[in-house]
């Protein structure tokens, strides 16, 4: 085998290539550009992401590359679409806030975002333990920095070639820094744990390649330990309880548009990694991992739904509700695992998971952008989110329907979608997950999940109540800036259109996992 054999089929990495080259190009452009407002880099990023997204449709990305370590299949391509779309909306909706936090340094934010996306897209196709772990870290590390992005704060306005490296005297920006630090600390521990689990897998199976591992691994106490560590490590990334502690703090502290991205893309990536491992080399060992997933589901549903109820800060509340939503995602995985266990096939459950992740992305990003739009309109040029501590309590939504009917309507739509009300996209996601679970024989879990998501309506509808049923008082009118407004509009249209016609999208998801 010559060194060049490894390059066979490398064209299926085209999308990853676009992202990688884009990230480096942004870095170069950032350096080459004269100092000043570098908003143009944001538009370049949008263009690159749109290009990559289009490429997932126009190019044939199926096949094997890197000597079998990387595979392009329907599932991977669909995941890439979710990542790229989340990145696109994240950049579009966050453009103003990014530019406001650091007009001269915004290029860095986009480079980090692209790097993180590169990790995700590679992760989606990884069929090798090393590639999986490396791309997982490539995804995670930029996120830590991005979470703290607001913490760098605006540099004091002064002319000069380079900004000073010392922090300004008025260090009021601890919130985002705290968010970033917590994300990093818990994330680092989890990565270590997952890595340890993966190295145990290598120890049992004697290879890093999934196809080999699937044949050589035997069940036993060591495998149980390895699986527990892997499930726990990745559960951190998707924010499933009890590995969710970072979620509310980070959501509350980090800048809202970044949270919109953080709350969907890395979670989808975490699911991709779990699917890759659990339904790949571990597909034959469902007895080992399904009880663990089941435990995560129950704890996530309980903790997420119960903890969300008393929250007054909307971002915190959405953090906890996200924990509950991840329980739903894991239920789709569980259903897929049951089928894999009984008939050894890929199943409806995977398609459901893909649809669920897409639906969750659309509605969740939407609701964060609505929060951002409301909060941003009250912000002045030099002020950071931290200075207005009441920025995102439920109270800021008071009477939004009178202050901005369009935003209120979009917000209502997203909240209904998250709550699973027909006919929004999230309703179908929930229905399919529960339907799949029922068929898989978990009737009691369906009842529990349905009851808890009914309880979940309580906190979701609090947002709606605040928007529609409380007087606006002397709160000012709200207008979303252009890019942010466009992002909200697109997401709202998606929520509604797919909610009314879920058929084609679901069909596409089924085709992606190989069900025709």
């Amino acid at each position: 085998m010559s060194a060049f054999d490894a390059l066979n089929g490398v064209e299926i990495l085209a999308v990853d290539g676009i992202v990688a080259v884009g990230a480096l190009g942004l870095l170069l452009a950032d350096v080459a550009m004269p100092a000043g407002n570098k908003r143009i880099l944001g538009y370049c990023t949008l263009l690159l992401l749109a290009l990559g997204f289009t490429a997932t449709f126009t190019l044939d990305l199926t096949g094997t590359a890197l000597g079998g370590a990387y595979v392009g299949d329907g599932f991977a391509i669909w995941c890439k679409r979710i990542f790229l779309a989340a990145g696109f909306f994240g950049v579009l909706g966050g453009m103003d806030e990014t530019a406001r936090i650091g007009p001269r340094r915004q290029g860095e934010y986009y480079q980090l975002l692209m790097m993180s996306l590169l990790g995700m897209t590679l992760l989606a196709g990884a069929r090798d333990l090393i590639l999986l772990m490396v791309s997982f870290e490539l995804m995670s590390l930029p996120l830590y920095a991005m979470a703290a992005w607001g913490g760098i704060g605006t540099y004091p306005k002064r002319k000069g070639p380079l900004p000073s490296m010392e922090l300004p005297a008025k260090t009021k920006w601890h919130r985002p820094a705290e968010a970033g630090l917590k994300l990093y600390l818990v994330g680092a521990v989890s990565s270590v744990v997952a890595l340890y689990g993966i190295s145990l897998l290598f120890g049992i199976g004697g290879s890093t390649r999934f196809d080999v591992l699937a044949r050589t691994m035997n069940a036993g106490p060591v495998m149980s330990l390895a699986v527990a560590m892997i499930v726990g490590g990745f559960a951190f990334k998707i924010g499933a309880a009890p590995f969710h502690m970072w979620v509310p703090d980070t959501y509350q502290g980090a800048s809202t548009p970044f949270v919109a991205f953080l709350s969907v893309a890395p979670k989808a990536a975490g699911f991709a990694a779990l699917v890759q491992l659990l339904l790949g080399p571990l597909a034959g060992h469902t007895d080992t991992w399904m009880p663990l997933v089941l435990a995560l589901i129950i704890v996530s549903l309980l903790v997420g739904n119960l903890m969300a109820v008393p929250q007054q800060n909307v971002k915190r509340m959405l953090g906890f509700s996200g924990v509950a939503q991840m329980g739903f995602g894991l239920m789709a995985l569980l259903a897929a695992g049951t089928v894999a266990h009984t008939s050894g096939q890929k199943s409806e459950g995977l398609a459901t998971l893909l649809f669920f992740l897409a639906a969750y992305m659309v509605a969740n990003m939407g609701v964060f952008f609505v929060i951002e739009a409301v909060a941003a309109s009250g912000r002045t040029e030099d002020e950071t989110a931290d200075e207005k501590d009441s920025d995102d309590t439920l109270a800021v939504f008071r009477g939004l329907h009178a202050r901005s009917p369009g935003l209120a309507l979009a917000g209502l739509l997203f909240v209904l979608s998250l709550g699973g009300i027909p006919f929004a996209i999230g309703f179908w996601a929930k229905v399919w997950v529960l339907l799949g679970l029922w068929t898989a024989g978990y009737g009691w879990l369906v009842v529990l999940a349905a009851a808890l998501s009914a309880a979940g309506l309580f906190y979701y509808l609090q947002i709606a109540r605040s928007m529609y049923m409380t007087p606006e008082g002397d709160l000012p009118k709200v207008t979303a800036r252009m890019e942010l407004g466009l992002a909200i509009l697109l997401l709202a249209l998606l929520t509604m259109a797919v909610g009314l016609f879920p058929g084609p999208v679901m069909e596409a998801a089924r085709v992606a996992v190989g069900l025709g």
Binding site: L185, S190, V193, S224, L225, P242, M307, V309, L435, P504
Partner: protein, 612 residues
């Protein structure tokens, strides 16, 4: 343009108009803008509908347009579709709906010209919604979409009846119409459920290779027919229709005469493959339809309000259609639906023109208007002749066809009732004409003016169709694969003679010389009792009694259960959730070290689970 595109235009142009007007408030609050958008969209629909219909009637037979998008998937299978479906059955109805809608919208420009701009804007937005829903109903590829649009049509009707929202009676009428038809709609919903259970779909044809048992078909058809009774105002659920006359007169012309109430009849036409498997329901339809035809015709004779006369007349004519469909002849009922749409819309619009002139609905306040309003008068007479089945008008062809079918099917008692109703129809229309046009002029009528051209032009168009619409009978016959349908028969001669007798009796009784003939004072005391008995009061009272005694009692029981059992449980669980959440909340300390402990604790728990 391909037929597919045309069909989409028919449906989408009013949809776009409705969505734009409902969302973009600045357009909606400006009356002329809103009117322009709505009328333009309806005109596009009409143009496309006519092109589609021309290719399917008059001897042409273009292939059906069938565009369906998957909708409601479940478990990897599509439960239903939505889309547009144009076949020779749907095509004429599309033209009727779009045409009458356009006429009425143009007419409304004049009729509501004095209303505030803001209110007119709202009015036309409702019209756009109605046009979309009604066309969606007509072009539905399956009964589920038909049902959705059926409900939307009900909503549009509610909004339009309640247009004069400052008038309490209008609000009440809107509510009454809504509740009565909603009650009936339960039948449609249940019928669809049974249909789905029995055939696995919402198609109006039984899928090939499947057999629908007669008993099942009876149940489905019976439930669907309940909805028809409500929507098409058949006894005893006709009570909402006269009250619905509280809405603006053009609305009555469009919804409560020509199109919406005919939706029930159209449902039977569409679902005929199912109805034809249910002989008991068909027979019941004949008797109920004939009874309604006669009953409503009697009531119409005693009304003083010109719109109420026409409303009861509509009930009566819908009864004819239902009876005709019950004989197994889809064509005669459908054909009468079409001609009735033309002449009844015309009659309502002429009535609106008279009301516009004297500012009153009452026949007392009219009289002598012939001298002031010749064009309206001529059109009123044309409409009345068509309704009375005067030879060679459109109503003559369609009504005779129905009577003939009743005879063929051997339903003699309903046939006699229908012929009697035809005589009464001629009588009460002659009464309306004589009192309003030729009676002694009232004070209000002294100052009457002819309506503007924008109102007269749509009336003239409908008048022309009311005269010559009968010529379409051959095309309708071909729809069912029969030869030209109309020929002169003994029944036809008897019916025509009865009609002419009715006209003659009306002319004699209400001739201008007889002053006492104004209003209902001409009715003797026993006849007044008949009026009361046949009017709305007893039926209303029966419904009210049922509501109070049965429904409210049951509701009280349910309410008790809800308040003391269900609510208590819900409050208990809410309390438990909040208490539990307080406990959990303490775990979220905010200290990173604690979070890492949590991760490790979770891991230990998972590992323990895994190893055990």
């Amino acid at each position: 343009m391909s037929h597919q595109t045309l069909a989409l235009f028919v449906l989408l142009s009013p949809l776009v108009a409705a969505v734009v007007l409902f969302i973009v408030a600045p357009l909606r609050v400006r009356g002329p803008v809103s009117a322009g958008i709505t009328i333009a969209s309806t005109a596009i629909s009409l143009g496309a509908s006519v092109m589609l219909a021309m290719a399917r009637m008059f001897g042409q037979s273009a292939p059906n347009v069938d565009i369906q998008a998957a909708w409601l998937p479940g478990g990897g299978k599509v439960l239903s579709t939505v889309g547009v479906y144009v076949d020779p059955v749907a095509a004429p109805m599309m033209v009727v709906v779009a045409l009458v809608a356009l006429c009425v919208q143009v007419y409304s420009l004049g009729y509501l010209g004095h209303e505030p701009s803001r209110d007119r804007g709202r009015y036309f937005a409702y019209h756009a919604l109605f046009a979309f829903s009604m066309l969606g109903l007509v072009m539905a590829p399956n009964l589920l979409q038909l049902f959705l649009c059926w409900e939307l049509v009900g909503l549009a009707s509610y909004l339009l009846i309640g247009y004069y929202w400052t008038k309490p009676s209008a609000g009440q009428a809107a509510l009454k119409a809504f509740w009565v038809t909603k009650f009936a709609d339960m039948g449609l919903m249940l019928g669809l459920m049974v249909l789905f259970v029995k055939t696995g779909g919402f198609d109006w044809t039984v899928p090939p290779g499947q057999v629908l048992m007669t008993a099942d078909a009876e149940v489905i058809a019976g439930l669907l027919f309940l909805a028809v009774v409500g929507k098409s105002a058949q006894f005893p659920m006709h009570i909402w229709l006269p009250d619905a006359m509280e809405g603006p007169t053009p609305v009555s012309a469009l919804l409560h005469a020509a199109t919406m109430v005919a939706a029930g009849v159209y449902l039977i036409v569409r679902a005929y493959p199912i109805f034809s498997l249910a002989p008991t329901v068909l027979t019941f339809m004949v008797y109920l339809g004939a009874f309604t035809a006669l009953f409503a015709a009697i009531v119409a004779v005693f009304q003083d309000d010109i719109k109420k006369v026409l409303a009861f007349s509509t009930c009566s004519q819908l009864g004819y259609m239902v009876a005709a469909l019950g004989t197994g002849s889809m064509v005669s009922g459908y054909f009468h639906l079409t001609t009735h749409a033309f002449f009844k819309a015309l009659l309502f619009l002429t009535a609106g023109s008279l009301i516009h002139a004297v500012h009153s609905n009452s026949l007392h306040d009219m009289g002598g208007l012939w001298k002031k309003m010749k064009p309206t008068g001529v059109l009123l007479i044309i409409g009345s002749l068509a309704l009375a089945g005067f030879p060679m008008t459109s109503g003559f062809f369609s009504k005779d066809l129905i009577l003939e079918e009743l005879l063929h099917a051997g339903h003699i008692v309903p046939l006699i009732a229908a012929i009697a109703a035809a005589g009464l129809t001629a009588f009460y229309m002659t009464r309306v004409v004589m009192l309003s046009l030729f009676g002694a002029p009232s004070e209000a009528a002294e100052h009457a003016h002819e309506s503007p051209a924008v109102m007269l032009a749509p009336m003239a168009l409908l008048g022309a169709l009311a005269l010559v619409g009968g010529l379409l009978h051959g095309d309708f016959a071909k729809m069912a694969g029969a030869e030209a349908a109309f020929h002169i028969t003994p029944v036809g001669i008897i019916a025509t003679a009865t009609g002419l007798t009715g006209i003659a009796a009306g002319l004699w009784r209400f001739s201008p010389g007889k002053r006492a003939a104004v209003g209902s004072q001409w009715v003797s005391a026993p006849m007044r009792f008949v009026t009361w008995l046949t009017g709305n009061a007893p039926v209303d009272r029966a419904f009210a009694l049922f509501y109070r005694r049965v429904m409210l009692t049951a509701a009280a029981g349910v309410a008790w259960f809800d308040r003391y059992i269900i609510d208590a449980l819900i409050n208990l669980s809410g309390w438990a959730v909040l208490k539990g959440a307080e406990r959990f909340r303490r775990l979220q300390t905010g200290r990173p070290a604690d979070y890492i402990y949590a991760v490790i604790a979770g891991l230990i728990a998972l590992t323990a689970m895994g190893v055990m």
